[in-house]
């Protein structure tokens, strides 16, 4: 007993030092930057030591991705490929080959419901969905023709030369469904290399949480209510994850009481029906993005069967506003009352 008293001052001093160290360490301040890239709103919050440039680097990378994968930008790589790859093989940078190859794999994985060659169909519907031409819906024959061109078999990758070509004219790649998830994956790499402990990346609604939450148990990510302002519930997450949602409320026009939105079923050629929104929770952003798009097209029964078989976490909302879960998603979900 006496001995403890003898060392008491030391013990107190040591705990004071530990405490000070802990406080100092925990005191990484969150900093948020906002901008527009990849045609969408970007918000990056990093919890870091002063003078860190990770956020800026991530933003720069997003703009770089946009310069490659924006199919509406005449200076982008994908524009060049779409325009000329039938005439002659086009040399592509490795990042392009990488996303193309991964997208083709994910297209197989989702049994064609996610389709990176969906460009021709997107073009058929674009004016209707943007509200520029609501007087006439596309002719069924035009839709059918677009479906027949929108096939991944028409894409030929020559890995040895780093080139891509198209088997028939009119083929058009569209990475719009996955580029945000891909971007978040790349952002995580930057955070890792920079030694950033925690961050939240919002790439136009695809959200990445990185590391452990700051001084609390969970990261809290709201899920948009598909039919009104505000959220339908919150996901409580403890560590790195990418959350991606596809919904029929994002870009749409209602014509004669029917909703025409930007998510197209590659088999029917029409906007998907049955589901209002699909949220996927996965460590891989590219997969989250591709699968959320694909399940919208699959519909409820097929979608749940697919997700269960692949053990993926998903939250599906049907028109009766019922919430369906697969994987362990239910245990993460907290409904908004």
């Amino acid at each position: 007993m006496r001995r403890i008293f003898k060392y008491l001052p030391l013990i107190i001093l040591a705990s004071a030092l530990l405490f000070a160290f802990w406080v100092n360490k925990a005191e990484t301040k969150p900093e948020t930057i906002r901008d527009i890239a990849m045609d969408t709103f970007i918000e990056i919050t990093t919890y870091h030591q002063p003078r860190d440039t990770a956020s800026e680097e991530i933003l720069k990378d997003f703009k770089y991705l946009e310069s490659i994968f924006n199919r509406y930008d005449e200076n982008s790589v994908v524009y060049d490929v779409n325009k000329h790859a039938f005439e002659k093989p086009i040399s592509i940078p490795s990042i392009f080959e990488n996303l193309l190859t991964e997208s083709l794999k994910l297209s197989d994985y989702t049994e064609g419901h996610f389709n990176p060659a969906i460009g021709p169909l997107v073009d058929v519907w674009r004016k209707v969905i943007k509200g520029e031409d609501i007087s006439n819906l596309p002719d069924i024959n035009i839709v059918k023709e677009a479906i027949s061109i929108s096939k991944t078999e028409n894409i030929i990758i020559n890995e040895r030369n780093g080139q891509v070509s198209f088997a028939i004219p009119g083929v058009s790649l569209d990475f719009g469904a996955v580029v945000k998830g891909f971007a978040v994956d790349r952002a995580f790499e930057i955070l890792k290399n920079k030694g950033i402990e925690r961050a939240v990346i919002n790439a136009g609604g695809t959200i990445g949480v990185y590391g452990s939450p700051p001084g609390r148990k969970y990261w809290r990510i709201g899920i948009q209510h598909p039919r009104k302002e505000g959220i339908i519930g919150v996901l409580n997450l403890t560590s790195t994850m990418v959350i991606s949602t596809s919904g029929d409320y994002e870009r749409y026009k209602i014509i004669d009481g029917k909703r025409y939105h930007h998510l197209l079923n590659p088999f029917t050629g029409y906007p998907t029906e049955e589901l209002l929104s699909v949220t996927i929770i996965n460590k891989n952003g590219l997969l989250s993005d591709a699968v959320s798009t694909a399940v919208m097209s699959m519909g409820l029964e097929k979608g749940i069967e697919f997700l269960t078989q692949k053990s993926l976490m998903a939250i599906i909302i049907t028109p009766d506003l019922k919430i369906h879960f697969t994987g362990d998603a239910e245990s993460l979900f907290q409904p908004e009352l």
Partner: protein, 128 residues
Amino acid sequence: MKRGDLLIYLFSASMLLFSFLLYLFLYSGLGFDQHIESVVVEYKKQVYAKIPLPSPERTIDINGPWGVIMLDLNGYKVRVNPFSPPYCPDKICMRQGWISKPPETIVCLPNRIIIYYQGGKYIDGLTH
């Protein structure tokens, strides 16, 4: 060891414990600053206006390189006035209507104008 020494030790130990608990208490609320402080208008990552909230019902003009943007304010609600001078080709932000709490934002893609709330955060992100 004298009795006085012990008292000093006990005193410093309890002070340490107290500050530890106080810190835990303060830190547990950190990250979610409960109340909305202001609405911020950013253009190309530069802050052009920061208006404290809540605000009485009024309309204000914000001038910037893009032209003029008219903001309607009412309490914590904010919108771009639908009759704002046409500074923007697609007018999506004018048609968007009111936002009332974070993380709702008004974003004008062509002009790179972002209107967002400072404070009042209750979630880390919104997936949509």
